[in-house]
Symmetry: C2
Subunit: 461 residues, 2 copies
Amino acid sequence: MSSSQIPEELETFYYTQRLDHFNYRPDSYTTFQQRYMVNSKYWGGAKLNAPIFAFFGAEEWVDDAIYYVGFLRDNAPQFNALNVYIEHRYYGKSIPFGSSEEAMRNASTRGYFNSAQALADYAAVLLHIKKTFSAQNSPIIVIGGSYGGMLASWFRLKYPHIALGALASSAPILYFNGIAPRAGYYHVVTNDFKETSESCYQTIRKSWSEIKRVAKSLNGLSILSKRFKTCKKLSKSFELEDYLDSIYTGAAQYNDPPVNVICDAIDAAAKKTDVLGQIFEGVIVSMPNRTCYDMDEFNHPSQTGLGWRWQMCSEIVMPIGHDRSDSMFQPAPFNMKEFVNKCNSLYGVLPQPHWVTTYYGGQDLKLILNRFASNIIFSNGLKDPYSSGGVLESISDSLIAVSSVNGFHCEDIHPETPSDPQWLISMRNTEVKIIKRWIQDYEADLALFKYKKVQAPKPQN
Amino acid sequence: MSSSQIPEELETFYYTQRLDHFNYRPDSYTTFQQRYMVNSKYWGGAKLNAPIFAFFGAEEWVDDAIYYVGFLRDNAPQFNALNVYIEHRYYGKSIPFGSSEEAMRNASTRGYFNSAQALADYAAVLLHIKKTFSAQNSPIIVIGGSYGGMLASWFRLKYPHIALGALASSAPILYFNGIAPRAGYYHVVTNDFKETSESCYQTIRKSWSEIKRVAKSLNGLSILSKRFKTCKKLSKSFELEDYLDSIYTGAAQYNDPPVNVICDAIDAAAKKTDVLGQIFEGVIVSMPNRTCYDMDEFNHPSQTGLGWRWQMCSEIVMPIGHDRSDSMFQPAPFNMKEFVNKCNSLYGVLPQPHWVTTYYGGQDLKLILNRFASNIIFSNGLKDPYSSGGVLESISDSLIAVSSVNGFHCEDIHPETPSDPQWLISMRNTEVKIIKRWIQDYEADLALFKYKKVQAPKPQN
């Protein structure tokens, strides 16, 4: 889309951000320009303590995120909210060291690229915005999806003095250090297909060994390349397998295309062709209008891909693997040792798989948080494979799980459309209602604790 | 004292600690040996989920702290607690870069010396101890005094998944960024003297101009040196003024000597000498058994002094100043610009006076925390000048202020003695009772949330 089609009237700003919030070396004082965007059209103003909705950019350009995130602009009018979108460091235009290439070039410049620093960035930007708008008492609701949802929930836990509450959409905060089962992700994908069509599930299940069998035969890779119309000849069958894996997981996660579209194509072809032919029919409906199929399509290097690979190899270590006998996929258990070696050879530093749970917690979540913390919505669509690492049970009356058996990844924060199903409308209404209650409680507290004369024996200044 | 007099049977351990928890540069992976000590004599064991008391070392050698901190050993028997004392990075023997001199030598090695890193150290050590003792379900109560008390309260806020609760003794967490009045510290000192003796207060109040008058007269500094028996001749009257300031604030803060001992000496001398003679009588009782008085006595360079000066010049910026007309002291308003320049010239980096409130909060504490967080005791003695930056009003039924009008700095965590006054016994009893309730609630939650089968739709691994 061109910028004239940006769905909100946004002003763009840059904040001079500190490179390292947790160090006092001269290097740490280096700064970079962090981008954020503001829509003040609906804002009720500081005098009314009108709220601020802050979207936390994640592994993407923040202007890209604005297209798929509708929650802020759809709800700002009824909340009289100021909408703010903040870009994550090392993504989009919020790049230290002059350029992405420079920032990602070596181990010393990459090191500052992590979630704790990103949260401290958000804290600094939000305090700056409050100051700029003289909005000291405006409550801030932080909103994010996927990794951005993790950031939103962690921010409420770490910076409750800055965010009143968080909407964490499809945030797999439990997919770390052995809390959620490693096989969860692929198990949900499998279930999505199995529930759609048992025969489709069986066909895909069988297809992996069939691909391997053909690959090993005389001219096998040529035959596979031809049958799957690959743009370049396959050099190993894994290229095709990985491509198919991406199609299936993408369908399960994003409903794009819907799983039943793939399964209908696969099932319909059963009478006229073999297993590989059926699988190819699934590819055709998933990747329309192609003259050939590019096995690298999902692996093209991008800022997002490169950035996220670094984050997963350093701090955000999600051990997604699978070796369940009922899986639709070939066994591929997560091997921490291999993973560590791969990351170390890529980046020259060791991943820290225990750090997320050390810094943010996650284990025994209900036990820990039932008497601590408040005001987080953990929303999940149970068709989303990442829901297997999400918080699916409410912890207290203000740490609330909002789940839908029908939902996919981050659907609740997507823009509203006239064709939204009732369950989705209802999910969003629940979220809006909860956030309204937080703000009401906050306003009552504000009157009680801030404007009432405090009786503590404070000496005058 | 020799080590045979160590008041607890402690085993000493060293944990290989990461230098920088918030960065993934190769440098960040450097490690150092962090010291901690354990007394398992009273521990009830992992099977009973017996608690862990963890003392957070602050700006001192942790083995020094053990002498003045009695709370753990006095209460471990009735709690069946494991006592742990953890040294703060850059103090005692927990020094990166080989030696204190090396670690403090330049801006690059000093930069890692800050509270956020120290809290992450404590998190790592405590998780390690839980693992070592197979004590996954043992609740941890963190305890600290003064700066260590700030660390304890901040730790409960940032790492609730590791500490069940915190006892923050005399922790001036509000003495930052304009929350508590800058003049608070000296105002409390003044009050301590004024309430003890109006004439003593008036004498000290008058003495500053008298010192200055004499200093300016012919041979004035010689006269002052002689009258105050200084070990070296004064080079300016400020040396004496600063020395007296330290005596008065020390008396107010630590009750050592008690303010009334100083005031009795000053008042008793009124009939036989002049103002300077009276002041000197106060010095004599404060610094007994001296043949001469060393104006540098409070400024001798020590690891504690050097470390704390760095911390105050970088992160822990407490703007203590005073210019109240009723002060016992000469006006000395805190001048941020001068402070910043001084620190910058000392260390080559700028202090960050906003950082503590950005990362830890503090503003509108009751508004922010009345529905967030739990299980912190903020204890203060109101005679302690630092109480002016303390939390003196309870925030909720588990964020509790325990104050005593009689108390001094950190008295509640000092070792019990047979001569303890009733108010101190009662203060400690209140704290013990609160901590017992936290642990009881936790045990009930443990049975409810951990051992009950969780009903969330979790896929099997």
